[in-house]
């Protein structure tokens, strides 16, 4: 599915888009001022395209959604949490190579 982009998600639709999603969801907690968040952005976008239909990719701006960030104890960004059936099944903290993200996503899809 060409053109599938990460979906910006907020406190108001987090439950419906992420927790109640029928497919696993990769959630990228990020912020404007965060250099490493922008470094991994291309990889997150590629994953959104390549795994379209199998995994949903969402982004949460921690400045605009502080209580969400706090609920998931986000103390470092980028924090990429992979949700399956409403709970955190895997996570990566920090700027990592795309291969590392793919490994985690594949593990959740399999498991």
């Amino acid at each position: 599915m060409a053109g599938t982009k990460p979906l910006e998600v907020t406190e108001s639709n987090f439950e419906s888009e992420v927790l109640k999603s029928t497919t696993p969801v990769l959630v990228d907690f990020w912020a404007e001022w965060c250099g490493p968040c922008r470094i991994i952005a291309p990889a997150v976008e590629e994953i959104a395209q390549q795994y379209a239909g199998r995994i949903k990719v969402c982004k949460v701006n921690v400045d605009d959604n502080q209580s969400l960030a706090s609920r998931y104890s986000i103390r470092s960004i980028p924090s990429l949490l992979i949700f399956k059936a409403g709970i955190v099944a895997n996570q990566v903290i920090g700027a990592v190579p795309k291969a590392e993200l793919v490994k985690r996503v594949d593990a959740v899809l399999k498991g």
Partner: protein, 307 residues
């Protein structure tokens, strides 16, 4: 043509990108390997760069690196998203092995940079990402109105302590020596900043907490006094480690793993050059990295001509 490229550059930070720029302009078949999804390396993690010559209005490190990338690409530099796992040399060719296979070239420029060194104390690994951070520009704003500690005495530690005062209620700046190593303008700024408490000749011995960081244990080297300071974040700027493990004894390095070079960036192996923070050198800045990159590219080009 048995080789994929004439020159392979490992790392697309300022050193690698500059080497790529010069090599491409010299019309040498060049490719740069970068393990992260975007180029820039350490420089891209820096918040604002105010000491790069010619950039007289502060610019975000990432933006400066993006400009370097665009410039190098405009002359033909190819950047591949791969991580060098190890290097072998056979029949006068250099083979770089990555996860996908291998790439062969006639010359190699190692510009793989450094990573933050660990302090090596209890609690550091347990609370990584849960209050322990090596990047204030990345995580600082998450500690809004809280008290944090910064450990270190060089430019990075002081720069980031100042950055953190924009968000944090208080910053404890802790250094093991009696005086900071940082450049004087930064020492002046931290001394006069009301939100920063300077704690010199002291070491952090332990990081304590339950689900995330709650306190640090600090020992004063002069009085031997040990006390706990309540903080929710600890930012460590205690040194750097070179990313040279993948070279595994191929080139000579110093005791810390930094690559030894001559003044033309040549290493102990003909055809292999080094540039940037991964080299044994006295000053690691964007300004010195780009100089290394230009030299390494021209040395590589000369080496290729003579072959």
């Amino acid at each position: 043509m048995s080789t994929n490229y004439d020159v392979l550059i490992i790392g697309a930070g300022p050193a690698g990108l500059t080497a790529g720029l010069y090599a491409s302009r010299a019309r040498v078949r060049t490719c740069c390997l970068e393990r992260l999804p975007s180029p820039g390396g350490q420089a891209a993690l820096t918040g604002i760069v105010e000491n790069y010559p010619g950039i007289d209005e502060p610019v975000a490190g990432l933006e400066l690196c993006r400009r370097m990338e665009r410039q190098a690409r405009s002359f033909g530099l190819e950047i591949i998203s791969e991580e060098a796992r190890n290097v072998t040399i056979s029949d006068d060719e250099i083979v770089v092995h990555d996860a996908g296979g291998s790439i062969r070239s006639s010359a190699l420029i190692v510009a793989s940079g450094t990573r933050s060194a660990l302090l090596g104390i209890p609690g550091e690994m347990d609370f990584l990402g849960k209050g322990v951070s090596y990047c204030a520009t990345c995580d600082g704003p998450l500690f809004r109105d809280q008290e944090v500690a910064v450990v270190g005495g060089g430019d990075s530690a002081l720069d980031e302590a100042l950055f953190l005062t924009k968000f944090c209620k208080k910053v404890h700046l802790i250094h093991r020596r009696a005086e900071f190593r940082a450049v004087k303008v930064l020492v002046e700024r931290v001394t006069s900043n009301e939100r920063i408490e300077l704690i010199k000749h002291s070491e952090v011995k332990k990081i304590i907490g339950t689900a995330s960081v709650e306190a640090i244990e600090v020992k004063d080297a002069e009085s031997d006094e040990v006390r706990q300071i309540a903080v929710s974040g600890v930012f460590l700027y205690v040194g750097l480690s070179p990313n040279t493990e993948f070279l595994r004894g191929i080139v000579e390095t110093d005791d810390d793993g930094y690559i030894e070079t001559d003044e033309d960036m040549g290493t102990s192996v003909r055809g292999i050059f080094a540039a940037g923070d991964a080299r044994h050198k006295s000053l690691r800045q964007i300004a010195t990295a780009v100089g290394d990159g230009a030299l390494a590219a021209m040395s590589a080009a000369r080496y290729l001509e003579k072959r």
